[in-house]
Amino acid sequence: MESHTKAARAKHAASSRVRSFWMGVITCFLFLICLLLILDEFVEQPLSNKHYLSYLFTAVFLLIASVYVLFFVLLDRKPAKKKEKKEVINASRRGFLTLSTSLAQTSTVDGVRRKMGEGIAAITKKRNPKSKNPILPAGAVSFEQYKQLCTVCGACVTACPLHILSPSLAFENLMLPLLSFDHGSCPIDCVKCNDVCATGALEKITPADKTDIQIGYAVWLRENCIVIKDKPCHKCEEVCPNGSIQMIQSGRFQIPIINTGRCIGCGACQANCPASPLKAIYVEGHKEHRKS
């Protein structure tokens, strides 16, 4: 190795500099993505301290990782006589790198999970219109029974014509098909998921039976509603299939009130609510379905 000419060493140094440049670019790119995730959270709703730390953590780790990658791992390719000593150091440094990036990864995963709406503990002025309990299609009888009988075959998810049934991403209910009403509601005359369910997790029912099953009840969130901003709206009342919502005069505004004894939790109000990004009316699921 002593025979390496000065020129060869210079060439080697140059190419490794090029490599380190591109690695630096990639690392900065990754850092920017992470930064965007943080900013995205800020734009949607103010972060709690917990979120901020999580992303700061990720950013710091990636920064350290990129610095490490740039200066130690790549530029470590020195002549062999120092190789043995460097190998030991390399191994521990590589270990540090792997640990730090794996921690960064998990906190990023956590960040992504949070961004997708799982597990957000909103300490915000606007309440998060997300049901405390999972919402199950009519025929599920109760969450306990549903979870017990469902084999997560996915037939109901495929069968749902409105694509409102999707596998849960929550750790404790992994892949269990749950209803989400942000982009669609459950029509009274559709029982496709019940038809295809082979295990009895969703019992065979008819649309007539469905009118007598309450899977949840609607809840109105005043601070999210556009009527308090002097934009008269009665969309929820309009779309409610069984007349469970009526508008009443409250002070200056016409606000919706829900007859929770009648509401079957179909989600039409939530799906059609024009308030954005947070819905002003949403369905809270019943853990045990009720007779109306």
């Binding site: 029509p187 007598d212 929770t260 009648r262 045990e288």
Partner: protein
């Protein structure tokens, strides 16, 4: 070479270890259980609100919200027995939550859930120190052919066994009914009351009282008997407050009478069997105009809880959501103003215009000798009535069609053999109904409705 491998293995273990730690730490950062949204009172954190307590004659603190044991959740599986067997796990969970949030009065009776209520509650409450809760149970000797002391003793002793306790805090004569003669025959002449008074002296019963569903005459007769009562349980809510008739005195009359005699009042049916929690649209609108964030049930509870003579209010909370909501209303209870009371009286008057069958689902009328499921028939009728009251313009065409298909088929709600058509007006159920419903007449009404639905003349 070997040193490289050793390093690699150690690295591998380090990575796995740290990775697992990182992932599991992430998985456990879950939001703590939050109360459901939409309830004004829920915005305070759990654990800090205090249950309102009342003091009984012996100086003991009793929670203003008591747990009624007539409406426990039942298992929804099991084919033929669906809805008939109490779900013990759910009962345990509900009672655990109730105990944690200050409820210490638990009411049951041998007839509730066909005997299962006492048993299930006994099991659930056995997890707590005996002094931390008060049990109330009753002498349910309804069978007129068995109004003997021996039969009463059997029922009495069985209660102790089912509940698994050595003493009963509150023991009641179950549902003192119309007619003063029946009171004497049922409890006095056969020595039952004397027996119970001696049990109270021995300390096996702490407080002796009676629950009441009768007429004015029997009410006064029971009160004026030379028994020193410790408390009386009456049906009290803003709907029954002023409705007065000789065969069913108003709640205000009974309440005043008891307060004058210094008898603590235990309240049952604060929600009138759920009817005051599920109001029809017009009445609901009025309530919500007064305060959009208060639920109908909270109004009813606050009305009852505001009365100073009330010791506890029994609510049969089937679901955890009901339990949580009710606890919040009572922790602490915000009294109603006089203006609120007048408003609720107007509401009661408005409600009287709707000819629903006032069944509370207590099932005292069951079993019917001809196999009718009386409460189910009544529930079906009330649903049809409700469906008729909502204008079709407010509903989607698909829903109207589906609902008609449901209600048009009587058998979807009540099994063939149990339908109203089999009623022979034998009258066996009449004296048993605490709401004084003329059951055979109502069955005729249902028959007419079903006939009209078949002929499509509704």
């Amino acid at each position: 070479m070997s040193s490289k491998n050793t390093m690699k293995r150690r690295d591998f273990l380090k990575i796995i270890g740290v990775g697992t730690a990182a992932v599991s730490s992430v998985a456990y950062t879950k939001a703590s259980e939050k109360a459901p949204f939409g309830m004004k009172a829920f915005l305070s954190p759990e654990g800090t609100p205090q249950m309102t307590m009342r003091t009984d004659a012996a100086g003991e603190k009793i929670s203003l919200l008591g747990y009624g044991g007539m409406r426990w959740p039942t298992k929804q599986t099991g084919g033929n027995t669906r809805g008939e067997i109490i779900d013990q796990d759910k009962v345990n969970g509900l009672i655990e939550y109730a105990m944690k949030h200050g409820i210490n009065y638990y009411d049951t009776a041998p007839v509730y859930h066909g005997g299962q209520s006492e048993h299930a509650m006994g099991i659930a409450l056995s997890n707590y120190p005996r002094e931390s809760f008060h049990i109330a149970t009753k002498l349910s000797n309804f069978d007129a052919s068995k109004w003997t002391l021996e039969n009463a003793k059997e029922i009495y002793e069985n209660s102790f066994k089912q509940l698994g306790v050595n003493y009963i805090d509150f023991y009641l004569l179950h549902s003192v009914g119309p007619g003063k003669d029946s009171f004497d025959q049922r409890f006095v002449n056969n020595g039952i009351l004397d027996f119970l008074v001696s049990e109270r002296q021995k300390g096996k019963i702490k407080h002796l009282g009676f629950s009441f569903h009768g007429d004015r005459e029997s009410f006064l007769h029971a009160l004026n008997s030379n028994i020193k009562w410790d408390f009386v349980q009456i049906q009290l809510n803003y709907f029954d407050w002023t409705q007065d008739a000789d065969n069913k005195p108003s709640a205000s009359y009974m309440y005043e009478e008891l307060v004058n005699r210094h008898l603590p009042v235990v309240v049952m049916e604060p929600l009138l069997g759920g009817r005051l929690a599920k109001l029809n649209d017009k009445i609901l609108a009025e309530l919500k105009k007064r305060d959009p964030e208060l639920s109908p049930a909270s109004w009813a509870f606050r009305f009852v809880g505001s009365l100073p003579g009330v010791l506890t209010t029994l609510s049969g909370m089937t679901y955890m959501e009901h339990l949580k909501e009710d606890i919040t209303v009572f922790s602490p209870l915000k009294a109603v103003t006089d203006a609120d009371k007048n408003f609720l009286q107007e509401t009661a008057v408005a409600m009287m215009k709707y000819p629903v069958i006032p069944c509370t689902g207590c099932r005292y009328c069951m079993p019917c000798p001809f196999g009718l499921d009386i409460p189910a028939n009544f529930a079906y009728f009330n649903k049809c009535l409700e469906a008729g009251n909502i204008p079709a313009s407010k509903q989607s065409a698909n829903y109207v069609k589906a609902r008609e298909a449901f209600l048009g088929n009587f058998s979807k709600s009540v099994r063939e053999k149990k339908q109203s058509i089999h009623c022979t007006a034998c009258g066996h159920c009449l004296p048993l109904c605490p709401q004084h419903i003329k059951i055979p007449d109502q069955m005729k009404r249902i028959n007419t409705l079903v006939q009209n639905l078949k002929n499509n003349t509704l």
